[in-house]
């Protein structure tokens, strides 16, 4: 599956394309098929995403969307060495999702 990511222009937050807008949570990402380029063009022009790009996604064991490459899994979660700053600070096993 192909998913879209980028950063919020004003805050720099990592965001994911949901089909209707942008979410900070990768599990909200949708498969854009071959529409990634046109979506990114429109969303970039509207300043709803900065430095957007398309990546390969996959489903994890629970069926949730997971970036195929470790770099984007770290982007999706937060630094593995500061899980207290991640999007899931209360989940001690969340680092395993990245690796």
């Amino acid at each position: 599956m192909n998913i879209l990511t980028g950063n919020d222009l004003a805050t720099g937050d990592v965001i994911w394309w949901t089909g209707e807008g942008w979410s900070r949570h990768v599990e909200d990402a949708v498969d854009v098929g071959d529409q990634g380029e046109s979506i990114l063009e429109a969303e970039t022009a509207a300043r709803r995403v900065n430095s957007g790009y398309q990546i390969a996604g996959e489903r994890d064991a629970q069926g949730k969307v997971r970036p195929a490459h470790i770099k984007d899994r770290i982007r999706a979660l937060g630094p593995t060495v500061r899980l207290d700053l991640s999007l899931k600070p209360a989940d001690p096993s969340v680092g395993n999702w990245v690796i």
């Binding site: 950063n7 004003a10 970039t44 195929a68 470790i70 770290i74």
Partner: protein, 544 residues
Amino acid sequence: MYRYDKYDQAVVDARVDEFRDQTARRLAGQMTEDQFKPLRLKNGLYLQLHAYMLRVAIPYGTLNSTQMRKLAHIARTYDRGYGHFTTRQNIQYHWIKLQDAPDILAELATVEMHAIQTSGESIRNISADQYAGAAADEIEDPRAWAELIRQATTFHPEFSYLPRKFKIALIASPTDRAALRWHDLALRIVRNEAGEPGFEVFAGGGMGRTPFIAYPIRAFCPAEQIFSYIQAVLRVWNSHARRDNIHKQRMKILVHDLGHEEFTRQVEEAFAHILTLGTDFPRAEYERIAAYFAPPPFETGLSEEIDRSDPDFALWVDRQIAPHKAPGYAIVNVSLKRIGGIGGDITAEQMDAVADLAERYSFDDIRVSHAQNLVLPHVRKQDLYAVWQALDAAGLADVNLDLVTDIIACPGLDYCSLANARSIPIAQKIAQRFADPARQLELGELKIKISGCINACGHHHAGHIGILGVDRKGTENYQLLLGGSGAEDTSLAKITGPGFDENGIVDAVEKATDVYLRERTEGERFLDTYRRIGVEPFKEAIYG
């Protein structure tokens, strides 16, 4: 330390206003990211993995307590309560919002700081010996020259669009604590036979994809001519350098391709011409700047005695204290390498604690080392116990200077968009493996340096043990290097063989230390043993 005059302040304030306008235009859609990116980079603002990252310049690694408290305030107000000191003596904040960046720069300007030329194709922050002005083995304080060079090169039109970044380092001691010859231009203050000050000049050093140790290109440049010489070096590079290939643009490539003899010949030719133009620093200007770096009013008649009755304190003194040029004083090294922590990271509360200590005990003076630690350069020996207690209370009294757990590591894939692999977890695992203080002391000086990609911000080429993280088909893999040095015995580390996974690299490091312990002779450091016996016994232990 140097203090801004009205011109400095006006320039920095104007730059903040300019960036505030540029940011507003970007947020309003009047500029594209392609248009805005070079402007934000000129102000040290990157877009990294999780957010914008702001790199703040700390010229030659010198801070006062007011500046440190401002850095703490920024960490607390605009970031997530911490900052990260880098291998170029700067500080980075990893969770910055673009909308806040102009306010942060305005806050920095109130304490005579900025983020100018911490990115982009410019002359970057000039780094220096963190013991400058305090070291017992120093010829003179190199920071006056560093400040002059900083002022003369900042916004210099000839150096505004360089082929690539350009890094200068400057020391004034035979002991190299600044990784001197790993810089594009390396300057060491020396004296000639007549006792006159000047510079020994090295050029063409650098790490990254293609590492080179800077070549000696001049044994002695009279101090009053150094800016002409620097201009000559930059002019030769600027006029030759390839701009078509990012991997060929650093000056080290030109020096290597031309040959350092031919490069030197062309520099000397340019130098002879530039000398006639009269662009060197007037003596009065040097003296004006040097006055800012006059030694603080050291007390005389102080005792050299240190009460070592507290054994934990005595251990700290033996490792973290360096000789000071003034009797009764000591240089205090503050470790930012707690076992289980993140090297170079410091919380806002710890910044405030260091600022308080500097103000009370160290003439308001703080230094950042390229090894990502801090220094209180001028502490009375009679105050060491009080300083140690306060550092201990702040979680900053670790005993590991230059030991196996004093690891340099870049932010790596946990933060950096260029990285291929994580660096910090490897540093943490190695530190945990060697956490026993007695084991660390038994191993002695052992500098491990870890980079998460070939750009080598973690100085892996200069590690006694270097580790390079690479991406192997989407999986992190770590190569082991041995034999590097960033000190006065500069050398380039060599890859030992196939790479390892995250746990395998820690085992490989331990096996290398086992070889050292087995083979060392009296007084040998790890690096000395490696140089004497060569790589084969290590390879046999690691891969055999």
